[in-house]
Symmetry: C2
Subunit: 412 residues, 2 copies
């Protein structure tokens, strides 16, 4: 089979995700919608604000009545009342020369078109207010529908809902929203050497680190982890568990098989599944070269490296963009990228992309942080806890000299 596959680049890998579609839509309460992605445009069903409001404490007026007012020549208006908060201002209707006391957020009376700030007024008595400064029509007022007209698009399909977006929707009385379903991600660790994390491993065995790590990465990326446990190196067993997992998930992450022999094993399992097409068998990046991607309808099957450090790189570069594609965000990385300066020379090999774990050290003068590579043998965990992000080195670049400014993807 090997001849059918050649190593592909990371950009070609991500381009394959165009074949996968966003998941179906569900309607959820606004209170549960933070971080979710809109599956439809949201259109305002009413005008916001629903009435013309004052943005200041002061006096609602007909603007023309204030023209020419100044400190030296104050205008005098007849005070006909006060609009208490939460009470309709429309109970009043201003005649020329009249004013009404109003508070921030209060509804303007009829025929009023501006508000004079209290700072530029003086109430002479209960019936007269002096105006020190003119106001233009519309000044210190938000007109009905000025924020959102009825029928206006408030937020577009594909928007990830932030706290402020939820606030605006709640202001419009939109308390349920159509969002893409969160992708369900089945996580299966394989290997005769693995025991669950709550067990003390007997000689020759170790605990399954990948399930815990991948589940947390899935959660962080907005997916729902479905832990499938550990499967020994038995093709029939793995195929059975994969079939069960795919019945209740959108993505399957099968990790393990870092050995040359077991890599082909994962491939055999995927090829033995019905209606399943292997799309990728090997990526020209380091770490993570032996990654496999297969497809069963709109479901994706990943064969991830067994080393958690490599699995994490592949998750960040590929699984995460696919989760975003399923969620309606497109195949973007979704990782914060900052510019950093290499603290030492970082060598690389021409012909493959490299992703170097780096630790970032802020610089006092406000210039970009220093990126120091966190090296370590393949399979060590220690470098993982010390690294802040990944520094990508392109396939046509022979590493970076010390002092090079270059982007770093921050771990979330």
């Amino acid at each position: 089979m090997k001849d059918f596959f050649k190593l592909i680049s990371s950009s070609d890998f991500i381009a394959l995700f165009d074949h996968f579609s966003p998941l179906d839509c569900e309607t959820i309460p606004l209170t549960a919608a933070r971080g979710r992605v809109l599956a439809e445009d949201i259109v305002s069903r009413e005008a916001l604000p629903p009435f013309s409001r004052s943005t200041m404490d002061g006096f609602a007026v007909r603007a023309a009545d204030t023209f020419g007012s100044s400190e030296s020549e104050t205008g005098l208006l007849t005070l006909i009342g006060e609009i208490a908060m939460g009470v309709s201002g429309q109970a009043f209707s201003l005649r020329p020369g009249q004013a009404v006391r109003i508070w921030t957020g209060g509804e303007l009376p009829q025929k009023a078109n501006a508000v004079v700030m209290v700072e530029y007024t003086q109430a002479y008595d209960d019936e007269t207010v002096a105006i020190y400064r003119p106001v233009a029509p519309g000044e210190n007022v938000i007109r009905v529908g000025e924020d959102f007209a009825k029928g206006a698009t408030v937020l577009a399909r594909g928007s990830m809902l932030r706290p402020q977006d939820l606030g605006v929707l709640s202001g419009l009385g939109i308390i349920e929203v159509p969002v893409y379903r969160r992708p369900r991600v089945a996580i299966l660790s394989t290997g005769d050497e693995l025991v669950p994390v709550d067990q003390v491993p007997p000689p020759g065995k170790i605990r399954d680190i990948n399930s815990t790590t991948l589940a947390a990465l899935v959660e962080e990326a907005g997916g729902i982890p479905v832990i499938c446990g550990i499967c020994g190196d038995d093709l029939d067993d793995i195929r059975t568990v994969c079939t069960q997992a795919l019945a209740r998930a959108d993505i399957l992450l099968l990790s393990g098989g870092s050995s040359v022999g077991r890599r082909d094993f994962t491939l055999q399992v995927f090829q033995a599944l019905p209606e399943t097409e292997v799309l990728v068998h090997g990526v020209s990046i380091r770490p993570g070269k032996p990654t496999i991607l297969a497809r069963q309808g709109n479901k994706a099957l990943f064969g991830l490296p067994g080393h958690v450090a490599s699995a994490m790189v592949i998750f960040s570069l590929f699984v995460r963009p696919l989760l975003r594609q399923y969620s309606g965000l497109g195949t973007t990385l979704g990782l914060q990228t900052i510019r950093a300066i290499t603290a030492e020379q970082i060598p690389s090999v021409i012909g493959r992309e490299e992703y170097v774990r780096v630790r970032l050290t802020p610089q006092a003068d406000g210039s970009p942080p220093l990126a120091t590579p966190v090296y370590g043998k393949s399979g060590l965990l220690n470098p993982l806890v010390r690294a802040d992000g990944l520094l990508p080195i392109g396939r046509d670049v022979e590493g970076f000299d010390r002092g090079t400014e270059t982007p770093v993807f921050l771990f979330p």
Copy 2:
């Protein structure tokens, strides 16, 4: 009372948080610990790996037996068996001149101290393997405890747990962790003009936007929102609700009272609460000047501006750092900061800090994004959904010219 207070700077405001202590500690399962903060150092109770492991597929050897081997002069070793995955390699003990087949992750046999990669070998028959390249002692091997020695500090108190950290802890069999309790944040909106978001506001009233927005901001920052609903402008009512709220929360966020009159109202409520000291009454920043901070023991009471846009700025600048202080992270902003270039001139006034909402536009050539101010009348919501972050302008700066490179705090 006003005379006792003067506007303080944002850095003086944040310095007050040193008076507040991290919350108490609780022990939770590792599977629920993503994003939580360690309340104690975590020390490894065992060596990791628990045995010396191969990092490659190949042959476990005594390194000295390979010295001098080359393509032209291959060394021949006697193959005495294979270490299957998950089986203890210690069942074998190498004599000089012997080798054992081993897989990535397999346990080394006794007396072996290196692994020759399979690529540099050739198995002649079931009992003989040819070696093309010498290996140094320790090569392609992770020694017992090389990742973490028994008793080593794995993660320090104050670390926020990321997916990879959880993975490492699970590898050490640490399935429960001591973390700081998540802060509980009571959210109370006040104002006679407010109705709940699921109601159609009658004339003169509007929906309560702040509760939804603040609850989502609290959640995002790792706190637990405790929604206390809406309270009309009645001092006794508000005081009663505040007392109840403080009984079950660590922070109280009281918003509303954007009017001059109602601002003092919030102050009066805080002053009427027992054992409560008002620390701040006004900050020299824009927006958000009328912010109030009070303290009741280790609990904090915030009087936030009524406009959601201003409340959000105060949340980002002050509430968020206090939540981080309670959570053991120190009084840092915790907002991602990037460098951006002003797309137009941004004026400001000397003598107060300004936080300008900006929209960011990526630039094709990889240089920092353009930051365009999103202006809008106070009280408008529309600018909130269009902005990506806040651009700070210091109190001694008279704004920025177009084309200035300066930091921007990204909204989370």
